[in-house]
């Protein structure tokens, strides 16, 4: 299990002696400077704060959150498109030198698939060029490029591959385009695939095809996959581990089913109760009590405290660390602080 994404206060004997993560971010923080004076907002957007996340070979980790929660920023930091303001990045256990130009080796290990396959593929080039270019840049030569491209197309289940290789993006459907985008990422034999909302632009009936393809790549080829999404039901379907983000922080993480079946953080509960759920028998909606905060001036302490129905004095004063609430299941919420005599016992005051 990916127990080691859970930080300090977790009892260490809970963590399995799992294999080393392929890529690991420790305390990743990203601040964006806002300079637009004419909007009167001059300051810093705290897009991601102290995010620790580890991706393991043969596992899918989902990052779930609303817009502005920082989930895409996390994937972009791991892809090193956005350099972290602070924090550490380990690739195969080796620290990555941040702040320098990204090496070709890093790019060959870590690849990113973007949300919109209508925008991410250059419309003037054929599939052969789109898939051949990363191969050429990374040193493949000569005749085997054609064969490698056909093999790539088969890996993403675009068959017969010979028919697809000379098509332009506009001749393909959305699902087929997203498969090309995934094939392009796979061209350089990465160990880590970062998929940022890979299905949200696609038609409903073909989304599962892409999710199943990602599951296949995990199972057959042992890729470490990050699945960034706003759809917690699809995260439950695909992922082994789910991390829930709110206002730039991971507030709960654990095994996928554990998060959706036994959520502990009040925000995770809110998110789950808001998700469309045709299987639930007439669930009641308690209300959302406001909206996510400004990331220029985030609330002190726990960033969810202004909206939290269980907020206590400590919540606005100190940021909660991760408390263990189950095997490999951690929750950043003071309600689960078993050392505090005044706090409510988990399961007691918490419905």
């Amino acid at each position: 299990m990916t127990a080691d994404i859970v930080r300090q206060p977790m009892p260490s004997d809970d963590a399995e002696p799992s294999e080393r993560p392929v890529i690991e971010g420790i305390g990743l923080t990203k601040h964006f400077k806002v300079r637009a004076k004419r909007f009167g907002a001059r300051g810093t957007v705290h897009a991601a704060e102290d995010v620790s996340i580890a991706l393991h070979a043969g596992r899918v980790t989902a990052v779930v959150g609303e817009s502005g929660s920082g989930k895409s920023t996390v994937s972009r930091m791991l892809a090193r498109i956005a350099e972290p303001t602070s924090g550490q990045l380990l690739l195969d256990g080796q620290p990555v030198q941040l702040g320098r130009s990204v090496s070709r080796e890093y790019r060959a290990r870590v690849q990113l698939v973007l949300q919109d396959p209508f925008a991410s593929l250059n419309p003037v080039h054929k599939v052969r060029y789109i898939l051949g270019r990363p191969l050429k840049i990374h040193g493949y030569t000569g005749e085997d490029i054609g064969q490698t491209i056909l093999h790539l197309l088969r890996r993403v289940a675009l068959e017969p591959a010979e028919q697809f290789i000379d098509k332009y993006p506009h001749e393909l459907s959305g699902g087929q385009r997203q498969r090309i985008a995934i094939a392009r990422a796979l061209a350089v034999q990465p160990k880590v695939l970062l998929a940022d909302e890979p299905v949200s632009m696609l038609d409903v009936s073909i989304r599962l095809g892409i999710l199943n393809l990602l599951a296949d790549l995990r199972d057959r080829e042992g890729l470490a996959i990050l699945y960034v999404t706003h759809d917690i039901a699809s995260a439950r379907y695909l992922a082994d581990t789910i991390a829930v983000m709110y206002a730039g922080r991971i507030i709960e993480r654990g095994p996928a089913r554990e998060i959706t079946d036994n959520p502990t953080h009040p925000y995770t509960k809110l998110l789950l109760s808001a998700a469309p759920d045709p299987d639930a028998a007439d669930a009641t909606w308690a209300g959302a009590r406001g909206a996510p905060p400004s990331l220029v001036t985030p609330p002190s302490g726990c960033r969810f405290h202004p909206r939290c129905p269980y907020a206590m004095p400590v919540c606005s004063e100190r940021t909660p660390p991760t408390f263990a609430v189950g095997p490999a299941h951690g929750s950043d919420c003071w309600l689960y602080d078993s050392s505090a005599e005044s706090s409510a016992a988990p399961g007691g005051a918490i419905p």
Partner: protein
Amino acid sequence: MTADGGRDLNRPVLQIQNLSVDYGMGDEPVHAVDGVDLTIHRGEVLGLAGESGSGKSTLAYAVTRLLRDPGVIVDGDAFFYHYPKDGGQPIKVDLLSSDKDVVRSVRWSEIAVVFQSALHALNPVLRVGTLLDDVLKAHNSQMTRRQRRARSIELLEMVGISGDRLGSYPHELSGGMRQRVMIAIAIALHPQLLIMDEPTTALDVVIQREILEELMQLRERLGFSVLFITHDLSLLIEIADTIAVMYAGKLVERAPARALFHAPRHPYTYGLVNSFPSLHGEQRQMTGIKGSPPDLRHVPSGCPFHPRCAHAMPECVTTTPPLIQVEDETGRRDVSCWLHDGRHSVPVELGISPSEAALSPGRVTAPALEDGEL
């Protein structure tokens, strides 16, 4: 049919008959809507589900006469029934052949539309108060300025926005608030029908839930009917009374919401229902639907779904199935599939009894019903 929970399913509000809409004329028109029959009753929430290109939005634009070139209504009728307050006989308005002025008087005062992108639907240089005031002034010339202002504040508060937001411009509001303003403008004149075209698709899930809850409360209070258009079938199950599913311009199934979800009859509906992973129960492999939605310039012959259908038969390729009425204990439903014409044996997963399915909280699956662990 019977009246059910304040909904009067005997009295139609909007009746669409054999509606066909093409884009472009000449040799190769695209048949965006192809012979659709659909009736919305008083107080009913009708969900219209379909993927992009299925014609669901075109249908809404056509019946409100908001369709722009190159869209052409080539066939069919759409009637709106206006029920007078004193309970007299309904007045029937022909939406498609009436004069533009007649349609304009009905549109918004009787049929209001909420579009997906409120940022684009609201004029960016006018304040919220002006936008509301315009609607009231255009349709209620006897209202005074003071009355209009009071009504504007009342409307904003009905959708959960404080009245002092009258002076705000659309860009000063969040996405959820903009969509709420759209709803306030839509209900300003007490319409009998609200057409909502993907009203919450661009919003976050928590805000979506808030707006839907408010909308359903307003519906209970004001009693309007809703035509709710979305690609998100899982959302419709919770809010709609009846769901109609469109595919490639055609209506493929129409049934009571729960029956449609738990016991779909059309293979496409079945595939669509099984494209939404559940939040409960075992994590099981789901397949979605093989292939892609068709290119509307080259719609497959016969049943447009046959190239993607696991049960396709020779006649599916040659002949388009009509809407066949199927009776079960949930009442009548319509399904456009040859499997249900009485001459074929219905595959197990398309013949589940809705009452059986309702006992199991899980979803209908091909081999057996999964038990939901709630």
